[in-house]
């Protein structure tokens, strides 16, 4: 069963899009497997505290894209072979990058400045990750 444990409801943007994105990200990241079961509409509705119509819309759109498959009863499952997975991954990456580029341009950065900034933030992020890993190992060692 795919997990919604780290799904946080954001206040901006339609919820059905957030749910779709969560599932696509899971597929792209490999945390949601092909043929893995998806919570029923009622269960997800109760889990997230969100009206069933919203869940229904998200699931319906995913079904139209061929990412979700409705089985008998109220069961559905992920439908993502390696090709589909690659496609979703590409789509997400392109979308996020497009948004980033637009954000940088709106602040009047040049391409070089934007790429330099990206490199700097990436390095900081790496350090933070390593720092966390060291702390985590220290704790484990204890």
């Amino acid at each position: 069963m795919i997990s919604f444990d780290n799904f946080i409801l954001e206040s901006d943007g339609p919820i059905y899009l957030q749910i779709i994105r969560h599932i696509k990200q899971g597929i792209a990241a490999g945390t949601m497997a092909d043929q893995e079961e998806v919570p029923s509409r009622r269960v997800l509705s109760a889990l997230l505290g969100v009206n069933p119509n919203t869940i229904q819309k998200a699931y319906h759109l995913l079904e139209m894209e061929g990412i979700l498959l409705s089985r008998s009863g109220s069961k559905s499952c992920i439908c993502a072979d390696p090709g589909k997975r690659r496609q979703i991954r590409q789509e997400l990456l392109q979308n996020d990058t497009r948004n980033w580029v637009a954000a940088m341009k709106s602040l009047k950065l040049t391409r070089e400045e934007a790429l330099e900034l990206a490199q700097q933030i990436w390095k900081e992020n790496d350090c933070m990750d390593n720092g966390w890993r060291t702390e985590h190992d220290k704790e484990k060692g204890k």
Partner: protein, 246 residues
């Protein structure tokens, strides 16, 4: 389908003045909808709910699946109110017996499951419950009556936010497709994701009626929609301060 057609209701506030609590209110509720009823104090929300339940006379027509609401179909409506409509001297178990006796389709299993989930004692008199527990029990009764249309009037006044959130989630989990909720509440932002449709009442008339999905398509939050519909002037206070009126 619950059809509310051209409801008018007026009160005589004093010998010289008549107040129109409801002016030509028309509304249709399909089975399975979760509808939020919003409006300022005195907008007519409670009056509308009471008219549907037959507690007060009104002009106009209210039909349940094409039929007037009478003793034959009144059991299909249930009511939960912040004023509480249970018997303070009886225990929950005794209430269940009463409901079983008078409403043929009482949901015993759901009742026990909800009582257990919210850890409410079955044999204690309701008088001895805390306010929050009383609210919970009031809502539980309305959910277990076996009604198709569950009307709620500010049912969570006095419950903490976690309590309320638990309840919304439980409701979403247990409601069947045939069960409809009409929830009158002030907590617009809180119920935004829970409801599927919002109806806005203002001074006795319906100012707005939209589905939440339609709002999402327009990129509008429910609060934005309410503000826009009421033409709420958010900068009213700061303007008055600037002009030294306050």
């Amino acid at each position: 389908m619950l059809e509310i057609k051209n409801i008018c209701k007026s009160y005589r506030e004093n010998p010289l003045q008549q107040v129109q609590a409801l002016k030509n209110v028309s509304l249709q509720l399909a089975q399975g909808e979760i509808v939020g009823l919003f409006g300022e104090n005195g907008a007519g929300k409670t009056t509308l709910l009471k008219a549907i339940l037959g507690y007060l006379p009104f002009q106009g027509e209210i039909l349940l699946d094409g039929r007037r609401i009478d003793k034959g179909n009144i059991a299909r409506l249930s009511f939960a109110t912040c004023e509480h409509s249970f018997f303070p001297n009886l225990s929950p178990g005794q209430h269940a017996d009463f409901y079983r006796m008078h409403f043929g389709s009482f949901r015993s299993e759901r009742f026990h499951a909800l009582m257990e989930f919210f850890s409410l004692p079955m044999d204690k008199r309701l008088k001895a419950y805390s306010t929050g527990q009383k609210n919970q029990f009031e809502v539980i009764l309305s959910l277990c009556q076996g009604a198709d249309y569950i009307l709620m009037d500010e049912p969570f006044a006095g419950n903490d936010v976690f309590n309320r959130e638990d309840f919304y989630k439980v409701l979403l989990g247990i409601l069947e497709p045939s069960e409809t909720i009409l929830l009158s509440t002030h907590l617009i932002q809180e119920v935004e994701h829970f409801i599927g449709r919002a109806v806005l009442l203002h001074q006795g008339t319906i100012l707005g009626d939209t589905t939440v999905l339609a709002l999402e398509e327009q990129g509008m939050s429910l609060m934005d929609y309410v503000r826009e519909t009421y033409q709420y002037q958010g900068n009213r206070v700061s303007r008055a301060l600037t002009m030294s009126k306050l």
